[in-house]
């Protein structure tokens, strides 16, 4: 059993070893290597080993090397930070390590050519905290990611870990915890934004011999890895929060439902749960009280629909992961018919900070309607792809252009897709919309779990809708008619349109199908499946019409609608005509050639062979 005194002792002791990283001390050096999903999949482990080896060779005993959770800037990984200066190196290869050790660690000379490009401004080198990418971010859910060693519970404790749990079980009643959570108005980060405090209150109010706390770590949105980064970089924050929730509602058992495709996160959670149990922070009589709480992992097979609360519970109960009708609220009758709280990973990660710092502090960040922060995975046509945590209420423009660095290759921004397959596309005119639950909803999109995909002028909006629908059709569980049959028909229509076979009636049919699917489906998957279609039809109807009426793709992206065309730059060399496999190019020597588009099979050969680049796609 752990007492609060022991907890504080660990904190003091471990904090000393972390001072450099926290920039509280300036002798010695600390090398932090990003072990997040992006960087880990490259070779963070090897980089760490080589660093350690070189440092040993040089006899630098005051340099410490640590693998930490995701730094966020996955685009430039593998990333390395050196403290106390906070120097940020990016795209580090094993060969570069010698140089960093020799000059930076031994002589204190920064290796400029390896620096993250954004950390040099007007010839000055900025520490990581000043880099644009990080400056506008506010870290609550990700507060420890990239700072602590995720496999060392002491480092979590050093940064106030498990203090919130201690405070709750030793000083607060369950009602007080719930009041605090309601006051803070933490809204669910898993998609729907339901206030966590109110949900907890419902579960608290129903007496039962057994209650459950579930952490939803299914994270099925394509391209999303917010939850995974938290679980990998700071697993204890989720464990602590689940125990707090258990105390508040009167549950002694928690489950983390996590997809088996996240083996690293699963491993780190296993380590974290073991460490917490060893220290008595999970298990019986936590902090010497009569509060018991334990957590088990449940692995999902990676079906998107299993992230839906009722399907998730079916799956934990050992049944096929299909949603069930919501006859009772989950907080009333959930897992095995018992009062159950399901919250998302990021929702939980906010909880310990709220308990320690209070509702007023939390509400001072973000907006009134949506307090706090939200983590987004920035992707698509954006310079800084990666993970960002922003205060609610900052605009899409700030996220995309200030933090994300804008659109690469001088292309023009077209739209941003939020909320993944359940969300919608938001066009240029709404770039100044603040990011909060209500504002995104008004535009026909959703906050969702935090996917944010930036689209540029080369992206065809019909094809984007098709892409998301294709995902939904694959992931529909097949239980209810509107979703199972309707999304398939919708996809068939979209495929026809991008292939240039769409008819005007198809547009009407899309609209009526969207209505049926949205209103008729059983679960959130179907109810939101049409959003990508509805929002692109709303803001980019001209693109749909161009495909249907003119058989033209304005973005020049739909292969079937492209035409090969020879411009006046043609010098009449006849090369294209000689190479065309279907002989559909005519023209006299030294005169401009012409393609018979009716016969052209769009193989692209003419474009390849033309010596002056006179063949274009349009």
């Amino acid at each position: 059993m752990m007492t609060i005194q022991e907890l504080n002792e660990i904190k003091e002791r471990t904090l000393k070893t972390m001072e450099l990283r926290l920039q509280k001390k300036d002798t010695g050096k600390h090398v932090l290597i990003c072990g997040g999903p992006g960087c880990h999949s490259s070779n963070a482990g090897e980089i760490k080993e080589v660093f350690e080896e070189k440092i040993r060779e040089k006899g630098l005993d005051d340099v410490k090397v640590t693998l930490a959770g995701c730094f966020g800037l996955c685009e430039t990984g593998p990333n390395v930070e050196i403290y106390p200066e906070g120097i940020f190196y990016s795209r580090i290869k094993v060969e570069d390590i010698d140089k960093i050790v020799d000059s930076h660690l031994c002589k204190g000379e920064i290796v400029e050519e390896l620096l993250y490009e954004g950390s040099i401004e007007d010839g000055n080198i900025k520490p990581v905290s000043e880099v644009d990418f990080y400056k506008k971010q506010v870290k609550i859910a990700l507060r420890n990611c990239g700072i602590i060693d995720y496999e060392n519970i002491d480092e979590y404790i050093a940064l106030d870990g498990y203090q919130a749990l201690a405070k709750v079980v030793l000083e607060m009643t369950p009602q007080e915890v719930i009041e605090l959570m309601k006051e803070a108005n933490l809204r669910g980060r898993g998609g729907a934004g339901f206030p966590a405090g109110r949900k907890w209150e419902t579960a608290f109010k129903y007496p039962a011999d057994q209650k459950y706390v579930i952490c939803n770590a299914d994270e099925g949105d394509p391209g999303a890895f917010m939850d995974r980064s938290i679980l990998e970089g700071d697993p204890h924050s989720v464990l602590e929060a689940m125990a707090i929730c258990g105390y508040a509602i009167g549950a002694d058992q928690g489950f983390i439902y996590i997809r088996a495709e996240y083996p690293v996160a699963v491993h780190r959670l296993e380590v974290a749960i073991r460490q917490a149990r060893e220290k008595g922070l999970l298990g019986k009589n936590i902090f010497g009280t009569d509060f018991n709480f334990d957590i088990e992992l449940r692995l999902g097979a990676g079906a998107f629909v299993c992230g839906e609360g009722t399907a998730l519970m079916e799956s934990i109960e050992g049944k096929r992961g299909m949603p069930r009708p919501k006859i009772h609220r989950t907080a009333h009758r959930g897992l095995w018919g018992k009062p159950t709280i399901i919250n998302n990973v990021e929702t939980f990660a906010n909880v310990p900070a709220i308990i320690l710092k209070g509702a007023d502090w939390f509400k001072s960040i973000g907006t009134e309607d949506s307090p706090g922060t939200k983590v987004f995975a920035l992707g698509g046509k954006i310079k800084n792809t990666g993970l960002v945590e922003i205060p609610m209420g900052i605009t899409l423009r700030e996220i995309i252009f200030d933090i994300g660095g804008g659109i690469p290759n001088g292309k023009e921004f077209k739209a941003v897709q939020t909320g993944g397959p359940s969300g919608g596309c938001i066009p240029k005119e709404h770039l100044d919309t603040p990011v909060d639950f209500a504002s995104l909803g008004k535009l026909g999109s959703i906050m969702g779990s935090g996917g944010m995909i930036v689209l540029d002028e080369d992206d065809c909006m019909v094809d984007i809708a098709r892409f998301f629908l294709d995902f939904t059709v694959d992931e529909s569980c097949g239980k209810c008619v509107p979703c199972r049959e309707g999304t398939k028909r919708m996809l068939e229509i979209l495929e026809r349109i991008v292939n240039g076979e769409g008819t005007p009636e198809d547009l009407d049919r899309l609209e009526s199908l969207a209505e049926t699917i949205t209103e008729g489906s059983l679960c959130g998957l179907g109810q939101t499946a049409a959003n990508p279609v509805i929002s692109t039809m709303k803001y980019f109807r001209d693109e749909y019409e161009a495909h249907v009426y003119e058989k033209r793709c304005p973005a020049g992206s739909c292969q079937a609608l492209l035409e090969f065309f020879i411009t006046e730059d043609c010098i009449g060399c006849t090369k294209c005509a000689r190479n065309c496999p279907v002989s559909c190019i005519e023209g006299k020597v030294k005169e401009r050639h012409v393609i018979d588009t009716g016969k052209c099979i769009k193989c692209g050969t003419c474009m390849e062979v033309c010596p002056v680049g006179a063949v274009i796609k349009r």
């Binding site: 096929r320 009708p325 006859i327 059709v473 008619v481 509107p482 049959e485 028909r489 008729g520």
Partner: protein, 315 residues
């Protein structure tokens, strides 16, 4: 448990407060179309046909899985509801073979009945369709996947009997199917031919094979009988045509009445004029059996004969 009073299509009705809307409607003779609902089974909410409009509620709600609440005002055939039903039925028909002419289920098929009621028709299109897979391995059940509307009733009813749980959903989305034991034919699977699933299937996806081609419902007389093979006394129907009893089929299983093959065969044997050859499953194969074997009278029968002889001798 208290009662609540609600208004359905302008009629007031008072029902126990744990009733679903569909049950309350039934009390006053309002028949809400429902393909996946069965009062004896766990609620599924899958077909979405039973959607109704509740005054003051933003979304349509499925009446099979929404409990009544005091003062609720419900419309079961409003324009919004009817349009939604038509769309849903159209989605079903777009993925269903146009086979009512020869389908054994015609006349009793709920899909057919609702399509008629809401005037929705089969139509041509070149989109995808369910694969045309027919399982003819069982002499008792014909499983035609192309007609399945995935209401899931068969899965739920099969699982209600301890140790059965033969049927399950497989695949996802548009490719979802009902399979036996993973994906076996009924013959290879652990199916015990009780025909519970056949009885609850609302369409012609599971039909009683021993009825096939013998008669249409509108052409025959049907009489309910009770099985005499064991104490459960399950319900069966004897179907007759031109004064001849030609087939027996199981009736809906109810609480504590599990249905079984032996009971069915016993009933056939008792009532039918010309009972068809019975089949027994031996090591995952259906084989012809004698009636003595099928009714599990081996031994008993010999003993009976012996007893009779003894009785004669003693007298």
């Amino acid at each position: 448990m208290g009662n609540v009073t609600i208004t359905i299509d302008g009629q007031k009705v008072t029902v126990p407060q744990d009733y679903y809307i569909i049950q309350a409607a039934k009390e006053i003779g309002i028949d809400i179309p429902a393909l996946c609902y069965d009062p004896n089974l766990e609620v599924a909410g899958a077909c979405r046909l039973c959607l109704v409009e509740v005054e003051g509620w933003r979304k349509l709600e499925t009446s099979c899985s929404t409990k009544v609440r005091e003062g609720m005002v419900i419309y079961t055939e409003s324009e919004r509801v009817v349009n939604m039903r038509k769309e849903i039925l159209q989605l079903l028909l777009d993925n269903h073979p146009n086979d009512c002419l020869t389908c054994q289920k015609a006349g009793e098929c709920l899909l057919q009945q609702y399509a008629y009621r809401y005037d929705v028709k089969f139509r041509e299109h070149d989109g995808a369709r369910r694969p045309n897979y027919v399982d003819t391995s069982s002499p008792y059940i014909l499983k035609d996947d192309s007609k399945c509307i995935l209401c899931g009733k068969c899965v739920r009813t099969c699982a209600q009997v301890h140790d059965r749980k033969v049927l399950a959903f497989a695949g996802r989305g548009f490719d979802t199917r009902i399979v036996a034991d993973g994906d076996f034919t009924l013959e290879e699977s652990s199916c015990v031919s009780c025909n519970r699933c056949v009885v609850v299937c609302p369409v012609g996806a599971l039909v009683d094979r021993r009825l096939l081609g013998k008669t249409r419902v509108w052409d025959s007389q049907i009489k309910g009988v009770k099985c005499k093979a064991c104490d459960y006394g399950c319900n069966f129907e004897v179907i007759s045509k031109k004064g001849k009893n030609i087939a027996v089929r199981a009736k809906a299983p109810s609480q504590g009445r599990p249905l079984c093959l032996k009971g069915r065969l016993t009933t056939e044997f008792i009532y039918l004029d010309e009972p068809e050859t019975p089949y027994k499953k031996v090591n995952g194969k259906f084989v012809e059996a004698s009636w003595k074997e099928a009714l599990e009278l081996d031994g008993i029968f010999e003993k009976l004969v012996e007893e009779e002889k003894k009785g004669v001798g003693a007298e």
